[in-house]
Amino acid sequence: MKARPGFDPGSLVSGVIIIVLGLLLLADRTGIVDLRFDYWWPAALAAVGGVLLACGLAGPPSGRR
């Protein structure tokens, strides 16, 4: 993954993942879905794994290269 100057793909992917996680929580709090541990733990692990993977593949942010 080749990064443009000033662009951090790790932040982009992490942001999208966290938005999805937040929407899931919002849906639970508003009663649209009933979040249970059976669904929450896989979702949380997938989110954290996705964030780590995205940051790892993207490398350090441009300011730290």
Binding site: G6, F7, D8, P9, G10, S11, L12, S14, G15, V16, I17, I18, I19, V20, L21, G22, L23, L24, L25, L26, D28, R29, T30, L35, R36, F37, D38, Y39, W40, W41, A43, A44, A47, V48, V51, L52, C55, G56, G59, P60, P61, S62, G63, R64
Partner: protein, 447 residues
């Protein structure tokens, strides 16, 4: 680079390499006459002849090492680590890079420099390790444990200059804080507050020592690390409590919105060089809220130890509800009418015990986010997302008590054989009094 052949052991010299010892410096590529490289090898850079063991492999000790070519001839001082025949054979050292040591960073540190040191050692962003520690701390405390192990096992790089806090200054701040707390909540302060504040003060002081002062005795260091463990544990518990309290007050939607906002900020920040530091607060908010949501924790209501003893059926109408604590509901003194009587009970976190009459058919629907359920039908179930429904059903016209219990985290016990002990706590004798399978005999008799 030449093809790498099979690696011979120390006594295997029957390949295309001479058996007699060579002059290391003269034999090293590039160290002798650069204009006369060995046949089949490039003239510059480290390379190995067929049959040579690689520098860091067994069998290389005491033999040709291309890195020696960079050292001056004539018995110049050598690196004792490199020349030690017992040094580890695996190393990140390369001909162009000196061996790296894993040390805690004193320049890139949030607490003890463990994540900074790991990031420097593995050449990745330390934020990834920080995220990992935080996430694993919330996942059973493994992150905290790993961090403490790193704090104890990994030495500091020694560049940190300690800056001592004066004891008088610390004590002064502590006394001012105590005075402020005593002014706001005097009853709490003179009750459990004083020992709690003293313990907190000791923890904070030791924490400051370990963060700002790397020196001191080993005993002080160990004590400070214990304080750090306590403080981080309290921090993790506080995160959960804050998320739970926020949810109970209707703040769950706000917290979820904050998580989404942080995600949007991350996406926006990606086009401005990155804003990965936002990942940590986003996950710190999201993960506890997810646990609270999954367990359906609701902490609104009374806190503490309460025993409810309704005297008549009309008192059961709205059911009972508590936030946190030990909740005991004694229904044995209620004369229930024929037909079904519903009694909902809700508890956020804690223990719920429901004492039911023996001559009534008891049915129930118990939901526990995380915990244990024990009922009078010899059901004993536990874990996450526990949902227990009584198999018994009352025939028409029988007196039936239907208990609907909703507990976020904790234990639920339903039975007729509770005995009150000193201090008001109940002890459940279960089937020890009536015999196994006879606890909910009213349903069977009615059937």
């Amino acid at each position: 680079m030449t093809d790498r052949p099979d690696i011979p052991d120390d006594h295997d010299h029957d390949s295309d390499e001479p058996a007699e010892p060579r002059d290391d410096a003269a034999a090293a590529p590039g160290a002798g006459d650069p204009a006369e490289p060995r046949q089949g090898e490039p003239a510059a850079g480290p390379s190995f002849a067929a049959g040579d063991p690689l520098p860091d492999e067994p069998g290389a000790a005491g033999r040709h090492d291309p890195r020696d070519a960079r050292e001056p001839l004539g018995g110049a001082p050598r690196d004792p680590l490199r020349d030690d025949p017992e040094r580890p054979v695996f190393s990140f050292a390369t001909p162009d890079r000196p061996p790296r040591r894993l040390t805690r960073s004193s320049s890139d540190r949030m607490i003890g420099g463990v994540a900074g040191g790991l990031g420097r050692y593995f050449d990745v962003d330390p934020l990834l390790f920080r995220i990992g520690f935080v996430v694993l701390t919330f996942a059973g405390g493994f992150g905290l444990l790993a961090y403490l192990i790193g704090l104890v096992a990994i030495p500091s790089d020694g560049e940190f200059k300690p800056q001592r806090w004066g004891l008088a200054r610390t004590a002064g701040v502590g006394l001012l804080a105590c005075a402020a707390v005593a002014t706001v909540t005097p009853h709490w302060f003179w009750g459990p507050g004083v020992p709690g504040l003293v313990a907190l003060g000791v923890v904070v002081y030791l924490l400051v020592r370990v963060i700002r002062d790397e020196g001191g005795s080993r005993l002080a260091g160990a004590a400070a690390r214990i304080a750090l463990a306590i403080a981080l544990t309290a921090l993790a518990a506080g995160g959960f409590a804050a998320a739970a309290a926020g949810s109970a007050l209707g703040g769950g939607i706000f917290i979820a919105g904050a998580v989404i906002a942080l995600g949007v900020a991350l996406v926006g920040g990606a086009y401005r060089g990155g804003a990965r530091w936002l990942i940590v607060p986003a996950l710190v908010l999201a993960l506890p809220l997810g646990v609270v949501s999954a367990a359906d924790l609701k902490l609104d209501g009374q806190w503490g130890d309460r025993t409810f003893r309704p005297a008549q059926t009309a008192d059961l109408g709205g059911g009972y509800k508590m936030g946190v604590g030990h909740m005991q509901v004694d229904l044995r003194g209620v004369e229930l009418p024929r037909g079904r009587t519903d009694m909902p009970v809700k508890l956020g976190v804690g223990e719920l015990e429901v004492a039911v009459p023996r001559d009534v058919c008891v049915t129930y629907d118990v939901q526990v986010g995380a915990g244990q359920v024990t009922t009078l039908d010899d059901i004993d179930d536990g874990g996450l997302d526990v949902n227990v429904e009584g198999a018994a059903s009352a025939p028409r016209g029988a007196r039936e008590l239907h208990v609907t219990a909703d507990v976020g985290a904790g234990a639920v016990r339903i039975g007729p054989n509770f005995v009150e002990e000193a201090g008001g706590r109940w002890r459940d004798f279960g089937s020890a009094v009536t015999g196994p399978g006879a606890l909910n005999a009213a349903c069977k008799a009615a059937a």
